[in-house]
Symmetry: D2
Subunit: 435 residues, 4 copies
């Protein structure tokens, strides 16, 4: 009895909170909101930050269902435009077809903390998305706006080094996603004179790195990660810099999912390093291959890979068998560094061949390796496979220790990208020769 | 004969230039442009900057007609959405209804000088607009994007003073639109300790003021402009600041026409001054009345003014007659400062009454005084009329010397704005009493 | 034989190096050096940085003995000035009496890295000083110049916090001399919103903190150090700040020994905090008492303390006995935290009384506690004794756990300082009552 | 009677003011002043700023006579040092021989506005110096301290351009001493891309340029000033820069008289321009010759010039006669541009020869041309004479239109300087050939 009363009271509070929120969005979208929106937006943001999960669910319902374009109006405008495609009809159509929530979000953004608030909304939304198909259009609207606001032309690329504020460096330690930074001493090594770190910042969020990339300046293309992130290594003398190797790229802002930043960052960094060090000749990555082990353990039918000649298919199947034989049929055994080290040479070679096949034929599929797809779609070329490149537990588990160099040849980027979109992976002769 | 050959050659060159431009926009809109768009955008911007007027006309034709949404596709999507208003249908509709040129402009903006290039395009377009209705949708798209990018939340408000770079101050001298700045000494006076100047800047155009406002800090609400802009006046001691009077607001970027900035600037300045000087009690303007003389000379039928009681109408007609009699039927005579000064008291009073009628009843019409409409729509209140407030030639010509104080009472702004949108001008008792 | 040859060769090289250095100083001191000295100074600094210890010894000999004023000339000038104290005679005397090495050092300082080079020289000199009385005048000249260059009026006081560059924060960790900073997490706590850290910088050495002080903002005067430097404590809300407690002050630049900076830093910090937080009422320290244990273990004759009444002397002797009895005659036992904790109440009280006597009567002697002498000479007042204030090993070893609050009452600083110079310690009633 | 009373009262006030000042200096020099000097210094500076001229005279008397070293003490110390030149005796001597006012001024300098206050004192003192020999030692002490504080190693050289704050640019207009800047448009031309302006700043006075130099970047060594300062000239393209011509150097701070800054500024600017524009081959001046006309009108006995061969003397006397004949015996006629233009060729040549003689033989004398002495003592070489280089009234009046190029060859600067100090002017072959 008491419980029921309590529940009813809670429901009532919930309803009141939601009603106030809806009133807030309505006012912000009205003519008042157009002219005097900053205080209204500030107020709405404060309310949003106090919502619990259930209230936020309800607010997303409101955004997703009450602030859609009106189907009848859009249809009428579309018919008029189809009948007579004039500028006036098009203007009417454009207005009718845009969700009012886009204008709402733009007005939220006028308040000082608006951009950050919209990013928080997107983060909360993305968590719900897998269960909520009805929120997809709202998510698309958010992505569309954020893509316009976080346009690379508006972002500032800044170098991060040991002169940067501690509050910023701390965020790198927190967000490094590829090769975890093990405290301040580790970070310090990664900011020495033969290392570079660059990040994108938005003018509205000047202390928040959005994405950062770590680069090693080296005498030659690296084949293993361990030497690059060793804490006590001696910095290389600048006159020996010849290769810039991107060895880690990490997003810091989950609310920007789907907004392409990494591609632009890598190219802008490459251009800047090229200007600063004209003797740099090679821009490449040293990248993990996170999907390789899962794929190989799934016993794929190699003959069925797309675009494969018969001879190649036969050779790949042989390699698969060689490898299985070498580890007694249990690929998991190769996650053990000792067992891996005892692999006979032919089995090692078989592993490399299979990685080349995985990258060369699977990457063009949507299910392909995400890191490979990222770099190849950016226009990089598959340059070299490095067995034993990462013998740390994560490297063994994900890819039996294999690492990959992708080459960013700024003059060929467009061609390689086009090729990839048409289903072919740009690759070096050495990799081609493996198949 | 030779002329014909020359003409043909010119036509051919024209055609080739345009063909290259169209190719450039096509590539920038393709998948290539998505991933590797920065150099493509840079290239296109360089080409655009070399176009002559005829070529630019042709390019606008291309933007306006070849990059429209496809009517049939939009109609199909609108029908599907009308039948079943699901998220998927809405996403498809949103995509189909957005002009591809919007994406083109967003990609242009990724290049370092992109924002400035889009502003230049808009400036060129606005010049053509009066003759070209077919460019209206293109102009609306540009305004829409610029409105999103020049959102007040993204702008930085900065104080401009005598410590500002000369290169910036020079731009104020150039763009001041209300009371021309007569060289560096004049500017210097306007930047003394009892004057303020604030401007909005966009992070992408850090040296370009977008709009600026000039403020005088005074002991009381000003009734004439001359003392405010006198070069050799002595600055007021800060402990006597009680009123902040906005006496000039000027746009510097014509490409942003239709993007509301002045409203936000005035309110943000008022908030900042309030924080800095808690003893400031009044925020008002000292504004011109640019349409008053034209209206009065047009011999308007005062009885036909909207929302007027009969008694008031009669009194207004009497005032009109008084004034005409006083200047011998020739209102133009009042543009002469000497004749103006000889106006008998009843005629002076009649002039003020007529100004009150003009502001109180004409401003709500689209044809009303633009300055009045700006401030009243912002939520300001018509506070006081100041006959003889501007006896300079421009002031006499535009408004027979009349100036206006609009009051920004931050607590009543929303209410006044609502009132104005419903057709009523918020006004002080003193002004009401005139009618 | 061979050894002799080798030795002779080494002596020759040494001689050549030294001859070149002497030539360098001679040229820098000549008219050439006056007008074109920057390259000469740069060159000399480069040479100095390559010297080994023996060469540096020889260079100091040169500076100390070859660049003294000429005794005969000075005497002549002094006689002339004594006979007729005119301006001309005084100018001649001043010139004659200044060591030429002062001008040499000023000219060294014209080169970009000059100030840092002079500081390095002083550091090297200070190491030699205990063995070399003949270098005392050279050291005094260096101190004199550095005192003029590192005048507090030329220094910039800056707040150091978590937004400061890592390269600077690292130096705090390195130089903290009172309560060691245990890595970045510890540092981070000391830079939270209820902590302050301020440092002096010289414009010529903008990345080198010269001295820094750590301050805790607290609700009341602290009686123990542990809570102040606990890593995981929660920051105090700003509205509860009432007391600023200086709990650590550390020099970073040994080359500035004898140049008073700490005194000015503490007062400037107090002034700045007072402006920022008008509700701060108390500025005090929480200080160690590093000489107390040594003194007490030396079994001092308390009756012989200066300025002591007979009654007090008797009571102090009784306290001394009480304490000795409580620890079985072995004061060292009190360095053990467990034994210390078991001390009966009367022995605890005796310890405090003895500390009051130590501070009140020994501090005015040159052999007194250096921390006490620093704060008392600055004009602070001995405010409170805190037995058990520092139970860490160092605190027990140095002072049987005792800590001291010195109070900086900005209005009484001059009076307290004068008192101290006249041999009396300014103290609170509570401390006076102990004696 | 009443007047006498008034006078007595004024004398009494004067006496009281002075007594307070003396008390202030005494306290600042005491132990109190050492430890708590900042408020005392602030207070003393405030008092000083209120003094009238008579009071300031009295204060200078106090500084100059009451704060001298004590003759007897100095003599005793000098005798001890002469008997035994030990470090201890030297330290005692150094202390005794330094005027206590030096320490006073150093302590004044600890207060925030101290440096500016000391500069104000020096300015006031320099005005009195011509009449007051007794203030010479005080002036020397001030110069000594300011020389140490305004050491070039402590100064920041900054480029001044059209991006600099208006408040700074205004000071250039005010202080330009060689070729007056005629308002903001003139200044703007001097800050165009083919012009440079550099100034020295002291960290303690960050908004006050101490001295600035104006440089033109040119294709060849300039022979006339008019084209360099013409307002509407077109900037030269950077790829054509070959010569950097210093055409104006102006001090802004009279209080620094006797502290050498120009020499260091010119050389530092030359080094920086050389780094920035490696194709610059020549660093020279285009300088006035301010003493030439006065000297020539004084009908000097040319045969008596120092270091002149007989043949040369005869030729110079002939040139003198040629010139006199050409202007009808009245050299003043040549101040008239029209008369000057009518001068026959041989008389023109005679003028140039006489200028060469003036520069080559008079400059080494203390009475020589100050501009020539400045550059030659800096180590520049007399490179070329330019008759008609400055036909503006001031140029005709000072030097009959003659201008001079001095060449700064950074590799030969030391040698030329030495030569000049030994009485010989370094000059180009072309100039030598004139004699």
């Amino acid at each position: 009895m008491l419980d029921e009363l309590r529940e009813a009271a809670a429901r009532q509070r919930q309803a009141r909170t939601l009603a106030l929120l809806k009133l807030g969005t309505k006012r912000l979208l009205s003519a008042r909101g157009e002219m005097n929106g900053v205080p209204l937006a500030r107020d709405l943001i404060e309310r949003l930050d106090l919502l619990d999960d259930a209230q936020l669910d309800a607010f997303f319902d409101h955004l997703a269902h009450d602030l859609d374009p009106d189907p009848a109006t859009v249809l009428r405008c579309a018919q008029a435009y189809a009948a007579q495609p004039t500028a006036q009809h098009l203007i009417a159509l454009t207005e009718a077809a845009e969700s009012p929530r886009q204008e709402l979000l733009r007005r939220l953004n006028r308040s000082p903390g608006g951009t950050a608030a919209v990013l928080r909304l997107r983060r909360a939304l993305l968590k719900r998305l897998p269960q909520r198909d009805d929120l997809l259009a709202l998510s698309a609207d958010l992505r569309h706006l954020l893509g316009s606001w976080f346009n690379p032309g508006f972002l500032k690329m800044k170098r991060v080094d040991w002169n940067s504020p501690a509050v910023l460096l701390e965020k790198l330690i927190l967000h490094e996603a590829v090769h975890a930074i093990d405290g301040w001493d580790d970070l310090r090594r990664r900011l020495q004179p033969d290392r570079r770190c660059f990040a994108f910042f938005h003018p509205q969020l000047p202390d928040e790195p959005l994405i950062f990339v770590e680069v090693a300046l080296l005498p030659e293309m690296p084949d293993a990660i361990a030497p690059l992130i060793q804490k006590d290594s001696t910095p290389l003398a600048p006159e020996r810099f010849r290769v810039a190797a991107f060895y880690s790229i990490s997003n810091c802002e989950p609310g920007l999912r789907g907004v392409s930043l990494g591609n632009f960052l890598i190219k802008q960094v490459a251009e800047q390093l090229q200007r600063e060090w004209p003797r740099l000749k090679t821009f490449c990555t040293l990248s993990p291959l996170p999907g390789f082990a899962v794929w190989l353990r799934s016993a794929p039918d190699l003959a069925a890979l797309p675009g494969l000649g018969r001879g190649v298919a036969t050779r790949l199947q042989a390699a698969q068998q060689t490898l299985l034989d070498a580890c007694g049929g249990d690929l998991d055994a190769l996650h053990n560094p000792l067992r891996h080290a005892q692999l006979p040479e032919p089995a090692q070679a078989a592993l490399t061949t299979l990685a080349a096949a995985y990258l060369g034929h699977v990457s063009t599929l949507p299910t392909g390796d995400p890191v490979a797809r990222f770099h190849l779609d950016n226009g990089a070329r598959l340059e070299r496979l490095n067995p034993g490149g990462n013998m740390a537990p994560k490297g063994l588990r994900q890819a039996f220790g294999m690492m990959v160099n992708y080459l960013y040849d700024l003059d060929r980027i467009e061609a390689s990208h086009d090729k990839f979109r048409r289903g072919t992976v740009a690759r070096s002769r050495a990799v081609s020769a493996l198949l």
